[in-house]
Amino acid sequence: MIETLLLVLVCIIIGGLLSSLAVHLMPVGGAPAAMATATGIATGCVMLMTGAAVTGLFTASTVASFWVTKPNVILVALSGAVGSMLMMGFTMFVGNLIYIFGAGIVPCSGRVAVDPITKESQTEYKTPRTDGHGVPPASFVSGILGGFSGGFGGALIYVVLVSDSYAHFSVATAGIVAMGIFIANAIIAAYNIGGTIEGFHDPKFKARIRTGLTCSLIVSVLCGVIIVIAMLTGTLAGGVM
């Protein structure tokens, strides 16, 4: 029993940390990106990451139902990760289609002079008095990795909560609790980022990732302890929904 409780706690902490890492990897431009005044996707960190994570959660729930009992944790988590990754990929790709064909803008970074992946110069393509625009290749790859990390984290929390080998919550309760833990971590990470970020190559990422992960660790431990208490007392066993 204690091993199971510890395993659930550890999985929730890992899931929470991966969620926080994911939000830091997202190329988020917020409202300025909608006016092509900043590089990244034109929405907020929490909105984007939650959208991606729940897409992954949907696929994870379908894949988890492949097994009558005891779903394979790694395969379900990976299915969620790939689902989030695809959501991010299509969103960024269509976003770039609108920037390029709808507004005639070349995607370029505003934070680095050279794209770390393609090694191509960015500065001369940037509109003066903006912080870059569109989703350049480094940000695209960062977003894909972020989607993978966030989807894996969210689906990992879900599968340990729903599995009859671990927490054995009902499907709906496990889904809502996983979403709740994910959103708590995403909001903390969004506060840590404080505005826009371009991805792993952004100097902000290096400067703030430690603080973000530390805060996420605290939040995830708290969430994990609450889940463990719910498991011990049987409050959510079998589900309240």
């Binding site: 409202a31 929405t43 909105m47 729940v54 894949v63």
Partner: protein
Amino acid sequence: MLFAWMLILAFLAFIACMFEDLESDIGSQSNPNSQIQLAPEMGYIHRYFNKAISGEGLSYALSCTISGTIAMLILLQLESVGPKAAILAIPVGAAVGSLVHMVRSSVCHVGREAAHKRFEQPIYLDVLYGHLLPIATHNFLAVICITAIAYIQSNLGILSGVAGASNPFPLPLLCLIWGLTVGAIGSSTGDIHYGTERAFQDKPFGEGRRVVYHGQICRYADCGVRTSKDVAAFCAKYGGPATGLAFGLIVLFENWRTVIGMTLGGLAGPGWNPSLAAAWGIGIGIVIAVVLVILARTLEKWARNKYGPFVGE
């Protein structure tokens, strides 16, 4: 049969996200709302509808969950009628969700515009009345499609005749999931066409909107003064359909790779291997992601070569 339902889901997703984006354009919700909010402060008195109930994801999650909950209640009440009850349950649910959305829109617009009194921005009653119906109707179409998607996915096993194809989440939770996603995508993609192009149509084409332009929105239409309804007519030509395409492709490929995985894993037969089915789904998904990265790079390279470096001051 499973593939046929999958295509219906993708089509519904396309319609849902397109109308979600156009509805957010009509109401100036989400990110470009910052410009509508800033305009009176910069001396730009306007006739745009101004609502930012919340982020689009949360706003649509609420509308869709209300719709899904009402639909499920009706379905439970009419259980004896069978699947035909969905013909009544889904539109009624979506109508209630849209009505609630319309109420929130009207309160939000009036509240925001009243706060602009200090900048001499009036509350135009014709703008308020004239936009509520388009907001409600566009919202209705988005919500009805999302509720239909959720209904099909939660009953896919029965509808397609393939055991185990249904999603285990209940209808309202699926509505919440797809409501969040449709809002997040509409906010991330479609807003660009409105915020970058339509809201600043009198500024030079082909450049990012400089910070000095912020708040200086385009207030005149082809004929007369522009309202948010003119924005929808413009964005329906590119931004809206492109946004619909994003969500449609996500739903299509997410379902497609799962179904292909299920088929290769021995679909509901004696040789059913869940690990193999999941592994195939993951593998196909990774291949699609790699193709997307290559496509994105090709597109960016094409844009760099075609448009060239920034020219001007």
